[in-house]
């Protein structure tokens, strides 16, 4: 996305969808990739309505191609 590190203040209990919205404000280009993204919270696949709390790790995953 053009940076290795992004500091973002988010509210406790914001959902994955809300946090993605915050990231998009700073990186509008993310919108183009959004339909292909999957999300993981603390190493588990997560849906957009999962709520995040302090210390959680959210990952944005492009389509996978392992094996």
């Amino acid at each position: 996305m053009g940076t290795d590190l992004l500091r973002l203040e988010i509210e406790n209990q914001q959902t994955v969808a809300e946090v993605i919205g915050e990231i998009k404000k700073q990186f509008p280009k993310l919108e183009k990739f959004e339909p292909a993204l999957s999300y993981a919270v603390n190493d588990e696949y997560a849906k957009l309505d999962v709520k995040l709390k302090d210390g959680d790790e959210l990952a944005l995953l492009p389509p996978i191609s392992g094996g």
């Binding site: 292909a36 999957s38 993981a40 190493d43 588990e44 696949y45 990952a59 995953l61 492009p62 389509p63 996978i64 191609s65 392992g66 094996g67």
Partner: protein
């Protein structure tokens, strides 16, 4: 045993892990770097992974396989980093009392791995490098959705 490694996959170690005198068949799948893809020449392949999640997901696949078949021994090893043609990127070994179970379980593991593990590969061809078109991961570890 599930593992992500950055060096050459150790086949001897995998064979030792699946040793079991109660098993009559061990099926071993080796995924390796092919010299072509969609009509393009491929000269090497680079693998990246979201490693700690990949391990979690590999463990889930191993557990699913053990629930569905009487698997006695199972090893899944995926390699990351730059691989040359012919090198193994993934090795799956499944040992069961009887061979049909071992073939089915091994097939299940590689098919699930390709659908769920957060690993990405970049193809290098004489014209340059590009990330391989991937698939959107299936979130299908719940028993009801994989039956």
């Amino acid at each position: 045993m599930v593992e992500i490694v950055r060096e050459k996959i150790d086949f001897d170690k995998i064979l030792q892990i699946v040793e079991d005198h109660g098993t009559g068949g061990a099926v071993i799948f080796v995924g390796r770097v092919r010299n072509h893809s969609d009509g393009r020449q491929v000269v090497r392949m680079e693998y990246e992974g979201y490693e700690k999640m990949a391990i979690v997901e590999l463990r889930k696949i191993a557990e699913s396989a053990k629930k569905r078949w009487p698997v006695k021994k199972l090893a899944i090893v995926h390699r990351l980093g730059m691989l040359e043609l012919g090198e193994a990127s993934v090795v799956i070994a499944v040992a069961c009392a009887h061979r049909p179970q071992a073939f089915e379980a091994c097939r299940f593991v590689i098919d699930m791995l390709k659908k769920t593990i957060p690993i990405w590969k970049k193809e290098f061809s004489p014209d340059g490098a590009n990330w391989v078109d991937g698939v959107i991961p299936a979130q299908i570890h719940e028993e009801e959705s994989i039956s």
